[in-house]
């Protein structure tokens, strides 16, 4: 039986091919291609993975080995905004556990979980390089610093953050 693999969109293919133009072989852009498709679709489904693998002339299994290695490639659906909570040592000293508890209380999700309305996914992340302003987290593309667990709603509200 021929498996039906949905095609990549024209804009996905164009973006992937632009990356292929400056590398020696197609599979070298595996990570870029996964990120491009993820940017369009929010995550990388099995179907998307197979479509990318075919375009890069590599096996889906090999590509999945790459995809599952990297914590910012999502092989499961994630919410509209991903919360990347820094739980490395300086943020731990400064109380990231309390920040996490406040998020859980506010959104009803723990690490690795997505809210029922699909608005947020909460994930841990390696040290965010803002330890002088710990505890910190990212909500979508925005860095939130000097977090106060009592005011976590403000960080989650989507207001643009002072940087």
């Amino acid at each position: 039986m021929t498996e039906l693999i949905p095609a990549l969109s024209d804009s996905e293919i164009a973006a992937i091919d632009a990356e292929i133009a400056h590398v020696p072989y197609r599979s070298a852009v595996a990570i870029d291609a996964l990120k491009i498709v993820q940017a369009h679709r929010g995550w990388v489904s099995d179907e998307s993975l197979r479509a990318i693998a075919r375009h890069l002339e590599m096996s889906a299994e090999e590509l999945d080995g790459v995809a599952t290695f990297y914590n910012l490639i999502f092989r499961q659906p994630v919410g509209d905004r991903v919360i990347l909570l820094c739980n490395s040592v300086t943020c731990w000293i400064k109380g990231c556990d309390k920040v996490q508890a406040a998020i859980t209380e506010n959104l009803g999700i723990g690490l690795g979980e997505t809210t029922a309305d699909n608005a947020f996914t909460l994930l841990p992340v390696t040290c965010l390089g803002a330890c002088d302003r710990a505890p910190v987290m990212m909500v979508g593309d925005d860095l939130h610093q000097d977090l106060d667990p009592a005011e976590i709603e403000k960080a989650l509200s989507g207001e643009p953050n002072r940087d």
């Binding site: 020696p24 990297y70 910012l72 000293i93 309390k98 040290c127 330890c131």
Partner: protein, 438 residues
């Protein structure tokens, strides 16, 4: 020519951290070094100056930059590309210096990279940057575009005959990508497993071609050294080491931050003067001098100079130069449990000692922290320190680095381990799940 600066790396850093654009960068002497070196000095002359400057890598290992570069074949016997890669994958716990450099002065990194590539005769350069640094990614891309418009990047730079293309590669996560051979694997689109050395990347790196990987702060120094000279750079340092260093302090200090200071500044000056000393109600128990994979030092070491040799002799490493402070109200076992769990999570999984030994160590530390520890747990930790802490038993330096804070915690805070075992609980208010004392 601009006066020789005393704080070359941060001379364009504004108090509000607003980024410096091309016009402001050039108004303050930016790209002078490019214009006075490229096509004016030979690559070999540039390399001699970098060697003479005694610049050592600022990413953590402290390897002499000029020596690292001297292993790159310059005879062009095998035709093909040579690569320069900037390691902008800052993820070492407690390290927040490269973000500052890239967000405040992106052109400084670009100018440093162009002259580094010229010295190495590399024709393709990558900035390998973590995806979370959105602001820096945008600024670096703008800076590269601005350089193309000025003729500082692209074909035949300033009529010198030297050409360079530069790409910003946005990573997809994982701490191990900061290891230079893992970074190369990742840039090739693979799982970021480190590679055996030799062959060293200088000979066989990205796609089998000669490749140099340097940290952001290292590369930011290059054009200053080529403009103001090796003697100037040597004179900036206070002790044996040359130049300035971005030092940072985080944890319960009054004024956590990052400052450019002469390399060899005393730890006391950094923690007490620049970081303002400990927060009220907290005293200093110890500190990791340069990120999460360096050995603890204690208050008795405060008067040591922060340079590679001095910190090495004291039993630790200067690492990234960004200190993490342990206060007297934070549990040292909780502290190293956090770090060991981090390293266990970030193991690439390639070699068994690291993949299995780190979670094992983290579990032992967790049971100790929770008050379920037994005296023989300390023997298990000692065994792990000897075994996975030794390079040669593991494929790369991740697990040995992870064991550094553990072994020195056992040395300096042994009574805390014993108290957890004897009392059957964590004696600190600040427990693993309880949040910080506030």
């Amino acid at each position: 020519m601009t006066d020789a600066p005393t704080h070359p790396l941060t001379r364009n850093v504004r108090p509000d951290r607003r980024p410096t654009d091309m016009a402001a960068y050039e108004a303050n002497g930016g790209y002078n070094s490019l214009k006075t070196n490229i096509g004016q000095r030979t690559p070999a002359e540039c390399l001699e100056i970098i060697k003479d400057s005694n610049l050592r890598g600022r990413g953590g290992a402290g390897f002499p930059t000029g020596m690292k570069w001297s292993f790159v074949p310059m005879d062009n016997a095998t035709p093909g590309h040579k690569y320069l890669i900037c390691n902008a994958d800052e993820m070492e716990p407690g390290t927040f210096k490269d973000r500052l450099l890239m967000e405040c002065d992106p052109h400084q990194l670009i100018e440093g990279m162009i002259l580094s590539a010229y010295t190495l005769q590399a024709d393709i350069a990558y900035i390998f940057i973590r995806a979370e640094y959105h602001k820096a990614i945008g600024l670096l891309r703008e800076a590269i575009t601005a350089c193309h418009e000025k003729g500082y990047l692209g074909d035949n730079i300033l009529g010198s005959g030297f050409s360079l293309e530069m790409h910003v590669h946005v990573s997809a996560g994982r701490y191990i990508c900061g290891e230079e051979t893992a970074l190369i694997s990742s840039l090739e689109g693979k799982r970021a497993n480190p590679r055996a050395k030799p062959p060293f990347p200088q000979v066989s790196g990205l796609w089998g071609r000669p490749t140099i990987v340097n940290n952001v702060e290292t590369l930011c120094n290059i054009h200053h050294i080529l403009e103001f000279g090796a003697d100037w750079f040597q004179a900036l340092g206070k002790g044996e080491d040359a130049g300035t260093k971005l030092y940072g302090v985080s944890g319960r200090v009054k004024n956590p931050g990052c400052w450019e200071l002469p390399i060899g500044t005393s730890i006391r000056e950094i923690i007490e003067d620049h970081a303002g000393g400990m927060e009220d109600g907290y005293s200093l128990r110890g500190f990791l001098p340069g990120g999460g994979s360096t050995d603890f030092l204690t208050p008795e070491h405060l008067d040591l100079a922060m340079d590679y040799g001095t910190i090495g002799k004291a039993g630790s490493r200067m690492g990234t130069g960004t200190m993490i402070v342990l206060d007297d109200k934070t549990c040292p076992i909780g502290f190293i449990h956090n770090l060991t769990s981090f390293f266990a999570r970030e193991s690439c999984g390639f070699c068994t000692p690291c993949r299995d030994g780190l979670p094992w160590s983290a579990q032992v530390l967790e049971s100790l922290e929770n008050g379920d520890g037994r005296p023989e747990d300390l023997e298990t930790l000692a065994y792990q320190i000897d075994y996975i802490g030794a390079i040669g038993n593991t494929h790369c330096a991740l697990a040995p680095g992870a064991m550094e804070p553990v072994q020195s915690a056992l040395k300096y805070f042994r009574e805390d381990f014993e108290a957890h075992i004897n009392e059957g609980c964590c004696p600190y208010e600040r427990s693993a799940s309880g949040g910080a004392v506030s």
